[in-house]
């Protein structure tokens, strides 16, 4: 049998969603961003909301998210995505508005914006990528960097005296009245990615039901920043990140 005999429409078992563009991703091999992008794109496609979805991209590695998801995008100043999303959702109450933010963006410079948007219960979705490091600027310490973890700005390991302890921002967010759904997921395996996709889908559905803010943290790997191979990075994440950032729903109402 020739390969041409196999490539037929009826034999096709998987198609890449058209919401994901054909642009070559700039993310490092092993990075979680690409997987999460794909999951969001699939949810938008499956819900049929490409023309109603507006994404807000952050400052960080995912600043270029607009190159990969074929929807309308606003690129925000560092940390300010929830402010953009607030205005967009209030001025376009029938659209699906989501922010896509990293740990430096959301849990450090943008803490005021995320806390208040969530507390007001803005009808938006927040996708929070927590890889415990600043990827784009070259691997500096993030608010979510683990104790003892070596980064460019904590070269001897994060210590409490100098840096304080990691900020459990998602736990804080779950306490805010305006949030309806707060969950922590991961994408290191097919099973984990499927769970994350279900969470993202639920978050977008909450949006259509105007339930308030849905917050999906994805504990992610930054193998370049962690200076590990992609496989080792995922192992390290499971061993070290998950005990500090346990997976599962923190709130669902």
């Amino acid at each position: 049998m020739d390969v041409k005999d196999i490539i037929k429409p009826e034999n096709k078992v998987y198609s890449k969603t058209s919401v994901l563009t054909d642009n070559v991703m700039h993310y490092c091999p092993g990075c979680s961003h690409g997987t999460v992008h794909k999951l969001i794109a699939e949810v938008i496609d499956e819900m049929g909301i490409q023309d109603k979805t507006i994404g807000i991209s952050p400052v960080g590695c995912s600043v270029f998210a607009y190159n990969y998801l074929d929807i309308d995008w606003q690129q925000a100043a560092h940390g300010r995505a929830p402010a953009l999303a607030t205005a967009t959702a209030r001025l376009f109450p029938d659209k699906y508005v989501f922010t896509y933010q990293g740990d430096g963006d959301l849990a450090s410079i943008g803490t005021a914006e995320i806390m208040h948007a969530c507390n007001r219960g803005e009808n938006i979705v927040v996708i929070f990528i927590n890889n415990a490091i600043y990827g784009m600027t070259g691997g500096q310490m993030a608010p979510t960097t683990l104790m003892g973890m070596k980064t460019a700005t904590s070269p001897y390991g994060r210590c409490e005296e100098l840096h304080g302890k990691p900020l459990k921002i998602t736990e804080l967010i779950s306490q805010l009245e305006g949030t309806c759904y707060v969950t922590r997921q991961s994408v290191q395996s097919a099973a984990a990615a499927r769970k994350t996709k279900r969470a993202i889908r639920k978050a977008f559905e909450n949006c259509s039901q105007k339930k308030g803010t849905s917050f999906v943290e994805v504990v992610s790997a930054c193998n370049s920043g962690w200076k590990l191979s992609p496989v080792k990075a995922n192992e390290w994440m499971v061993e070290n990140m998950f005990p500090n950032y346990p997976l599962g729903d923190l709130k669902d109402r």
Binding site: D51, I71, W73, Q74, Q75, A83, L91, F92, E113, H116
Partner: protein
């Protein structure tokens, strides 16, 4: 017959926003301009025109809400006073870089730092020379009456959308707080989402199958692309200088001396002109209405007939630098200013003027 209402300059801003089809106001309280958001909250425009009004958690957040709202092609505005504008400078740079229209009101108080809640004009440099990072300018309108506070909201939106640039209304504590008769102009409707999508094809209204995605960003890592973006911005600022300079003159036809003043100081200096004229001194007033673009050409036109020119400001001398650039050393450029929130009387200005010309 047009309706007239007695109101504060700050209230005029709020009422004008509602009546001119503004889609959203996002602000944070600060003296001396809190009446703007207070008036909006009392008027509840979301029940009438559908305008969104929101008290943000900070000025940083409100300016970024403008970035989001403007990205949607909506008419959005905020207001603050000096320390708040300092916080907004980051956002203004992004708005300018992403070519987004919006109206920002600064009811200026005395600085630096927390300064005073009394009136000031010390934010001229911040307003006209950028304030935030990078090579950008904004349209800067300087109202000197409650009526102009009302009218410049609409004018600000017109210019902001003409140039796809932030427009700043640079008022001062006097203009914001004083009560005057204001004529309410005819109402303008808000635009529908369909009209916005058609009129502003760049806006993030949701990617439909018939068009490419819209991305609002100020980022361009490629040096050649980024230089082109900057060239485009500079061409826009040049066009503003050619097409949208606004000013008023008072008794300048035969003037041998001219005072240049804006905002509340222009009102005060009108009386100074009258005093000088009563004593036979040929003094005139030039009131820039746009501080950027600055009425450079009008100053250059007047310069040959003048012996001196004087800048009168509630600052240590900021606008005077633009006057000096226009005059280019041809005649003496004098200065009188008060600081700390002190507003001089017409007599005080006149004495300072006479002292300078008799030197």
């Amino acid at each position: 017959m047009a309706e007239h209402i007695l109101m504060k300059g700050n209230e005029a801003i709020a009422i004008s926003a509602i009546r001119n089809g503004c889609d959203g106001y996002f602000g944070y309280p600060i003296t001396p301009q809190s009446e703007i958001m207070e008036t909006l909250m009392v008027e509840k425009p979301w029940e009438t025109t559908g305008m969104v009004v929101l008290q943000a958690e900070s000025e940083t957040s409100s300016i970024n809400m403008l970035y989001g709202g403007a990205s949607c092609g909506k008419k959005v505005m905020t207001s603050s006073s000096s320390p708040g504008l300092s916080l907004m400078c980051e956002g203004l740079s992004y708005l300018a870089g992403a070519e987004l229209p919006c109206v920002v009101v600064n009811v200026v108080r005395g600085g630096p730092g927390l300064g005073t809640i009394q009136p000031g004009q010390g934010d001229y440099f911040q307003a006209c020379k950028g304030g935030g990072h990078g090579d950008y300018k904004m349209i800067v309108l300087a109202p000197s009456s409650a009526q102009e506070m009302y009218d410049f909201v609409d004018l600000g939106f017109d210019l902001a959308f003409k140039y796809l640039s932030p427009a700043l209304i640079l008022a001062d504590g006097v203009v914001g707080q004083m009560m005057e008769k204001v004529e309410l102009r005819p109402m303008k409707d808000r635009m529908s989402n369909e009209e916005i999508a058609q009129k502003y094809p760049w806006a993030t209204t949701g990617k439909t199958p018939d068009r490419k995605q819209n991305v609002i960003t100020s980022l361009a890592l490629d040096a050649a692309v980024h230089e082109r973006l900057n060239d485009k911005l500079q061409a826009k600022y040049k066009q503003m200088e050619e097409e949208d300079v606004r000013f008023e003159t008072y008794m300048c036809e035969d003037a041998e001396h001219v005072i240049v003043a804006y905002g509340c100081m222009a009102r005060i200096c009108e009386s100074t002109i009258d005093q000088a004229r009563a004593e036979g001194i040929k003094l005139g007033l030039l009131r820039p209405i746009t501080l950027f673009p600055f009425p450079t050409k009008e100053i250059q036109r007047l310069t040959p007939q003048l012996k001196t020119i004087m800048s009168v400001e509630l600052s240590a001398g900021q606008m005077i630098e633009d006057i000096r650039l226009a005059v280019n050393g041809q005649i003496p450029v004098n200065f009188f200013g008060r600081l700390g929130g002190i507003v001089p009387s017409p007599e005080e200005v006149y004495e300072a003027f006479k002292k300078e010309i008799n030197k």
